[in-house]
């Protein structure tokens, strides 16, 4: 049987001043690690939740995003007749959309931020079923009316319900606020597609994308085959959820790598803290270790015991780090979406698996910080150490 774990628990408690240095170092590192990953996770979740598996997003072939795409009215007509598209009371569930940018001041700083204006069809709520009007009403086709996402409503000046705002050459009235379930649409402003294009002197017959509601998720291939083989159009068809997942990749990769780099730099410091704590634990307890060895506990038992102690310290640090950033969960922040150059609000998303990763990261630091002192402990010359004061 190994050296009892109660020995390590009480030793850690008895040497709390030294232990606390390592605990805080690991807690800080894990806190940053989890916070950065939760930022990436939140950004990704916001974009991915914008898409639905029942919808397909159609852009010009080769376009990497809506911003680099163009779909003509003729192409829209071809799309409306394509198979696999669900139909509503007023015809096929298709929304040709014009995507524009407008500088609107932020409430917090007063500085302009790029807000994504999306010209949509009036039936858009039948296609994007996660979007609900929570205040006011939907805009009416042909009128200079806007509905704004719940984040846009609180983030930008002048987007409050009932307010009038000048966008392009037109004065628009905010008639509704919608909740898009935490997706990127919550940061957008929606209005009549034709009027929005005209307000910015853009042809009303040209769109950036077309989103369609499929009869079923499986109908995507039917639609895709039809449109990609039709010589009249040159389009790419993607499941909407896949499109948004792809859109999130570059930013989440950037945040994850940046966060990983910062966490790694901090981890090096934390590991040195743990090493220092554990080396001093070994130095202070030379006689105890030698006594255990004299009683018959083997070298592996001593290594295991000190590793357990290092893991205990790192677990406490990891748990503290996770707890300290838990309050960030749900906190909304915003950044530029590099795919659209618009300001995108999203929330930190701390999930159970992130917390487990944080604890795992802490334990890894504990193993690295504990293994060398543990080996030193096992190699102490027993006869000499027994007589240490």
């Amino acid at each position: 049987m190994a050296i009892p774990i109660v020995y390590n628990i009480r030793s850690v408690r008895a040497r709390w001043t030294s232990t606390i240095v390592a605990v805080l170092g690991i807690a800080g590192t894990v806190g940053v690690f989890v916070a950065m990953l939760s930022l990436a996770r939140g950004f990704q979740a916001t974009l991915v939740s914008s898409g639905s598996p029942d919808n397909a997003l159609i852009v010009r072939a080769g376009a990497t995003s809506e911003m680099t795409s163009g779909v003509s009215l003729d192409a829209v007509k071809v799309i409306q007749d394509a198979p696999g598209i669900a139909r509503g009371a007023d015809g096929p569930l298709v929304t040709p959309e014009a995507v524009l940018m407008a500088p609107i001041p932020l409430v917090t700083t007063g500085t302009d931020a790029n807000v994504e204006l999306r010209g949509v069809s009036p039936n858009v709520l039948e296609i994007r079923k996660q979007v609900k009007i929570v205040q006011g009403r939907m805009f009416q086709a042909g009128l200079a009316e806007l509905v704004v996402g719940k984040n846009a409503n609180t983030t930008y000046s002048g987007l409050t319900l009932g307010n009038t705002i000048t966008l392009g050459s037109v004065k628009w009235k905010v008639v509704g606020v919608f909740d898009a379930g935490g997706s990127s649409f919550d940061s957008e402003v929606w209005g009549d597609s034709r009027l929005l294009s005209e307000a910015y002197n853009r042809p009303a017959t040209n769109f950036q994308s077309v989103t369609v509601h499929l009869t079923s998720p499986a109908a995507l291939s039917q639609l895709k085959d039809s449109l990609t083989s039709d010589p009249r159009v040159n389009l790419d068809v993607t499941r909407e959820i896949d499109y948004y997942a792809k859109q999130s990749t570059s930013m989440t990769t950037l945040i994850t790598r940046l966060g990983g780099f910062v966490a790694m730099i901090m981890a090096i410091g934390a590991i040195f803290g743990a090493l220092n704590t554990m080396y001093s634990a070994v130095a202070d307890r030379g006689r105890e270790i030698a006594t255990m060895r004299a009683l018959g506990f083997g070298g592996p038992s001593v290594v295991f015991s000190f590793l357990i102690e290092a893991l205990l310290i790192s677990f406490i640090g990891g748990a503290l780090g996770c707890l300290s950033v838990l309050k960030l969960n749900g906190l909304t922040t915003s950044t530029i979406n590099f795919q659209t150059f618009s300001n995108l609000a999203f929330a930190f998303k701390i999930t159970p698996d992130l917390l487990i990763m944080g604890i795992g990261f802490a334990l890894a630091m504990g193993v690295i910080g504990g293994i060398f002192p543990a080996i030193r402990a096992a190699r102490l010359p027993v006869a000499t150490a027994l007589r240490e004061l």
Partner: protein, 247 residues
Amino acid sequence: MIRVDGRGDSKSLIQVRGLTKTYRRGGEEIHVLQRLNLDVDKGDFVAFMGPSGSGKTTLLNLLGGLDVPSAGGITVDGDEITHMSGSKLTHWRARHVGFIFQMYNLIPVLTAFQNVELPLLLTKLSSSERRHHVETALSVVGLRERMNHYPRQLSGGQEQRVTIARAIVSDPTFLLCDEPTGDLDRKSADEIMALIEELVGKHGKTVLMVTHDPMVAARAHTTLHLDKGVLVEASQLEQGVVAGGVA
């Protein structure tokens, strides 16, 4: 019977033959033990005396498998220990040796019970069996009532009693005591020696003890002096004769 001439019979519990320990300090060789012989039978109680640096503790460490000799051999209960690997020696110590240290060497964060239980964690005894053994050992040393106390809550004499309980709990082949009363006042020292005598007389334990104190040494069956790296019986020391023929 204790002999230092290397002529003891093969039935001796502990047989030491030609034991040599040499340290190298700087460029100089220090011969601490030189071809030392010793035979100890089961139930013997022997005290080792000698000036500081004479090699008493080195001898105890070698007998306890905590150090390896430069030459010579030690056989305990038929096991030749000097050629055992480190891990084998560790197992052997757990089974055969009970250590009693001058500074007690109790683990400060463990209670008296947990300290005494430590050697039993290396056995296959169940938790309830371990409890029974620990309580018995603590009863022998008169500290059953204080088994939940931490070392800092005990007097020096009581700490040494716990150490003795820890040394005997696994019923080892022999006990090694390194200055067991060196840190105690006279009264406590007497009590500890009475306890060790009881372990020898009543429980048949074999005890090898290092001490500076002649009054403590007088409690042993035999006192051996370490002189110039070999063991000498008190009578021979007075006559200037050293075992092995080296004066």
